[in-house]
């Protein structure tokens, strides 16, 4: 999905220079105020520092941060809005709930009057209704984080900043919380900037990506495009060369426990069954290692004698060797208006006589999918009122 250019008033613009001891943070960014944007980089790369500067929790030394037309800080004009007037929701790494308020009191702490009518819907969305009467000390890690997210949301923020909100949770809780985050972005419509050093979290929920290293921004843009960029293969090594496909739930096959997903160009993908209404938009993560290539075209969608359930007609758009020492060739395959990343050995590339522009069949392992990686890209229901 190519990112459409947006007017400045709907973007978070950052142009800053900050010293913290020997560490220097220099960033120029313009982020869309829509969907989920992930700040990715190893620990100590400056993600959290950047987030704190945007939230106003640390004092900006030099530069300018603006949210649409609201200047949050501008050192040249000597302006700096205090955090309580920035209208930014922050979800910290620790939930930081107020221990002396019950859950309901925490949720209402920053809630302006006009948000009262959305209280019930947000509580329902986060699944925290049964917790309202409890004190934070009695909550589990996952519960406390959901309450923290609800508390930030109910303050009606123009932007929600999340600093590794999933750290320290077990895998099942993480997946669950990622779903909530995705739903917030889609159903509540609040833009989210999400700090993470976990590639799988990012691939599951993010629309855009900011790649940081040692206090600098290496690259930023739509996540789908960044995942397909060969030049970012090294900093994005943790992503397993994964790329994403968007499709719609077409049909559930109860006998074989499969769900069929129809892609934009009409081709079908079969994945292990998961629970989602027909017609729902779904985003699937496919690591490069789960794709094999065949030179024969799939006649009526099926190549004989192969166990691969997903046989997609594709065109090799680009091929490159990441380094001379690599045994494999990185490929970008085109499927209609979507693209997929694949990887074949040098030997296979030579012996099959593959070339750029050639039509091939991409064989995608069915078991490569699991329901937890099928995240809603867009919900058909009307946004919460």
């Amino acid at each position: 999905m190519a990112e459409q250019p947006m007017p400045d008033k709907q973007r978070l613009t950052i142009d800053i220079m900050q010293h913290q001891g020997r560490f220097q943070l220099a960033a120029q960014l313009s982020l869309p105020m829509r969907g989920v944007t992930a700040l990715f980089g190893s620990s100590g790369c400056g993600k959290t520092s950047l987030l704190r500067l945007v939230a106003g929790l640390d004092r900006l030394q030099k530069g300018r941060i603006a949210l649409g037309q609201t200047v949050l800080a501008d050192t040249e004009q000597g302006r700096c809005l205090p955090p309580h007037r920035r209208r930014l929701g922050v979800v910290f790494q620790e939930p930081r709930l107020f221990p002396h308020y019950r859950v309901a009191g925490n949720l209402r702490y920053g809630m302006p009057k006009h948000m009262a009518r959305r209280f019930g819907a947000i509580v329902e969305l986060l699944g925290i209704r049964q917790l309202l009467g409890r004190y934070p000390a009695t909550l589990s890690g996952g519960e406390a984080r959901r309450v923290a997210i609800g508390r930030a949301l109910l303050s009606d923020p123009a932007l929600l900043l999340m600093d590794e909100p999933l750290s320290g949770l077990d895998a099942a809780r993480k997946t669950e919380l990622l779903r909530y985050i995705r739903r917030l972005s889609v159903e509540v419509g609040v833009p989210i900037v999400f700090v993470s050093h976990a590639p799988e979290e990012i691939v599951d929920v993010a629309d855009a990506l900011v790649l940081m290293d040692a206090g600098k921004v290496l690259a930023s843009g739509s996540l789908d495009e960044m995942l397909l960029r060969f030049d970012l293969s090294e900093p994005l090594a943790g992503f397993d060369g994964a790329s994403r496909l968007v499709g719609q739930v077409h049909r559930h096959d109860d006998n074989d426990r499969l769900t069929e997903i129809v892609l934009a160009d009409g081709q079908l993908l079969r994945v292990p069954a998961f629970d989602a209404p027909q017609g729902q938009s779904i985003r699937l993560r496919i690591p490069a290692r789960d794709i094999a290539l065949a030179t024969q075209p799939a006649v009526s969608g099926v190549l004989n004698g192969l166990s691969y359930r997903n046989q997609l007609n594709a065109v090799i758009e680009e091929a490159t060797l990441l380094s001379d020492s690599d045994a494999s060739v990185e490929l970008r395959l085109r499927l209609g208006d979507q693209a997929l990343r694949a990887r074949v050995t040098r030997q296979a590339w030579r012996e099959l006589g593959l070339t750029v522009g050639q039509s091939v069949t991409a064989l995608v392992r069915c078991v490569a999918f699991s329901a937890q990686h099928a995240f809603a890209a867009q919900y058909s229901q009307a946004p919460i009122e």
Binding site: L57, V90, Y135, A137
Partner: protein, 250 residues
């Protein structure tokens, strides 16, 4: 024939001494509470030039002989004193040899104890919780009253009771600055001192001694109970009420 209870029967003078003590200590703590909390917050949350010096001055009453503090008060706030003469002329306030003066002496002596206890409890409040409140749109004052002070409540209570007990037991500064006037500035410790000086005052002195112990114990136990309740609430339990229930059920 004297009944056992008769021994504990208080004379009017002794009764007055207790009332005066409670009044003076109460007024003293009432006046130092707000400035004490403000100063404690400043020491806990802000860095500024001269902080170490201020900290030293603040602790002086703890280490100086109380008589020295009383003398300094007399020099400063006496009717001939620098500030005292001005107050006397323009405001008509005379502090030496009045119960208000005794309250000033008690307040000054209790101040460092209050500030110390409150400061420690404020330092224990996670500043990141205050930051979280700010990101939710709460201004400085709202953060102070809804997050900082409630979380520091156990220390606040302890500090208040310590200060109250210190003001109640004040002797040296009081007798120097406010003298030992029956019905006006004769507090419990001063009355006790006078009785010890008087032949035949042993029984009365013993009664006041027992009373002093009772008052101190009651305030300590009350503060401990309140602080415990506040702490339990912070841990997500309702002030120990459920404990009794469980014990009965078991």
């Amino acid at each position: 024939m004297i009944s056992d209870w008769g021994v504990m029967q208080l004379s009017q003078a002794e009764f007055d001494a207790i009332l005066i003590s409670l009044k003076i200590a109460g007024v003293a703590v009432g006046w130092i509470l707000v400035p004490g909390i403000a100063l404690a917050w400043l020491m806990a949350r802000r860095e500024f030039r001269g902080k170490a010096l201020l900290d030293g001055v603040l602790h002086l009453p703890l280490v100086l002989p109380p008589v020295v503090v009383g003398y300094l008060l007399l020099v400063g706030l006496g009717t001939q004193g620098v500030l005292g003469s001005w107050m006397h002329q323009h405001l008509g306030i005379r502090l030496p040899f009045t119960w208000q003066g005794a309250a000033v002496a008690g307040g000054v002596m209790a101040f460092p104890l209050l500030v110390r206890a409150v400061r420690l409890s404020l330092e224990a409040v996670d500043p990141e919780l205050e930051a979280a409140a700010a990101t939710l749109g709460a201004g400085r004052l709202r953060v102070l009253f809804t997050v900082t002070l409630p979380l520091a409540l156990p220390g606040l209570l302890t500090g208040t009771v310590l200060a109250f007990a210190r003001a109640l037991s004040e002797f040296g500064a009081t007798i120097t600055f406010a003298s030992n006037i029956p019905g006006e500035t004769r507090t419990l410790p001063l009355a006790l001192y006078s009785l010890i000086q008087t032949p035949g005052g042993e029984a009365a002195a013993a009664r006041l001694c027992v009373l002093a112990i009772i008052i101190a114990m009651v305030s300590l136990v009350t503060s401990e109970w309140l602080a415990r309740r506040a702490r339990l609430r912070l841990q997500g339990r309702d002030g120990g009420e459920t404990h009794g229930g469980t014990a009965n059920a078991g």
